[in-house]
Symmetry: C2
Subunit: 224 residues, 2 copies
């Protein structure tokens, strides 16, 4: 048997910052799809694990170093790459863009965050990968506490609220949401308040990381 299938990995990195959800894309430097936007990714090397590969590729192409990406799905249609047979294992993750510096290198002509409501045309089958990733992210956050590490160390409650309604793409009931979240005991109320901004100053909260990670591991049902 002569197999000539190439294996690649792709990283769908979502960014969340003050109410905007975005995805990190690169502009391809080479054919195929030269000049078009794509999800960062590349070929797996012989001796590295898939996780290592996806982290390496992400770093090489965008400068991003993040340490947790979750496997999403493996895309293997024979014609998804116009030249060779390439099967790709897609991963996804969620970060806070401002905490990282991004820069184009190797195969990328440019790197950019795109608002997920204003996406360009994507290369290959990357639109379906992205669609699936969004789906999964939204699904996941309804049963697992997720993404709290995206907020500042101390934050007003409205930040989480915005985070959730942005990622879910729909409004959530402020009172019910607060009640629910507080009942999990993962937020410690501080004695400080927000100082500037119009309107009444808000109490600041902080995560109780221990309990947060415990909940996450237990896979507790969140049910937002």
């Amino acid at each position: 048997m002569q197999q000539s299938i190439q294996l690649s990995v792709d990283a769908v990195v979502f960014g969340y910052e003050s109410g905007t959800v975005s995805v990190l894309l690169i502009k391809r430097k080479y054919e195929p799809f030269k000049g078009q936007w794509a999800i960062p990714g590349g070929f797996v090397l012989n001796k590295e694990s898939l996780e290592e590969a996806v982290q390496r590729e992400l770093k090489e192409e965008t400068g991003l170093e993040i340490n947790y990406l979750e496997q999403l799905y493996t895309f293997g249609n024979p014609d998804r790459d116009p030249r060779n047979r390439v099967v790709s294992v897609a991963y996804f993750g969620l970060i806070k863009p401002s905490a990282f510096k991004i820069f184009a290198s190797t195969d990328a002509e440019a790197v950019q965050w795109f608002d997920i409501n204003e996406l360009p045309n994507l290369s290959f089958d990357h639109d379906s990968i992205l669609k699936l990733a969004i789906n999964r992210l939204q699904n996941k956050m309804t049963y697992e506490p997720i993404g709290f590490e995206l907020l500042d160390n101390k934050f007003p409650f409205s930040d989480i609220e915005k985070l959730y309604s942005s990622l879910l793409g729909r409004a959530i009931d402020r009172r019910n949401f607060r009640k629910k979240l507080l009942s999990f005991n993962i937020l410690d109320e501080l004695n400080e308040k927000t100082s500037k901004g119009s309107g009444r100053p808000a109490k600041l909260f902080k995560f109780n990381k221990k309990r947060y990670f415990k909940l996450k591991e237990e896979g507790i049902i969140f049910d937002i």
Copy 2:
């Protein structure tokens, strides 16, 4: 870049029949792990999709032809195969063993259903694949109607109950379960009863397939 990674697929096929949950395994004919049991699977051909590959391999090795397997996870640790680098995309499915004939062929010296509580030693990392598959199956069935096609055309309610408690590996409350299930309106009560067997004869039910598949597609929360 010289990539020499081989891509394979594996099929975790669960069987359910009258209270017993089993998995289909093959006995390997060749090295590595010659003579040991393994999950059926094999290399993906250049022109076939992953789904085609997993179906073909399953058929070649076990004689089974089933038309729906769901992607589970992709296993890619560099040392999971002692000889070459092999990345494997695992799938899983659930069938009724008696409705199919199985027989060993190609790479398999034997094919056999194993009760999932009495598993032999498995080749490669197949034990972790299997563990993940069981997990996923159990998880899935709590939020999606699943596996009803495993029952006879007409069946007493206790059959579903047994199906669920076997697959979940725990007892379920008979009354609450019946209430819940009936509330979904996917079961039509017939005017027939079971005839033989000791004890009071049971009413027979039949699926309302339309509604069943609709529910399934909608991904309705099942919450058993």
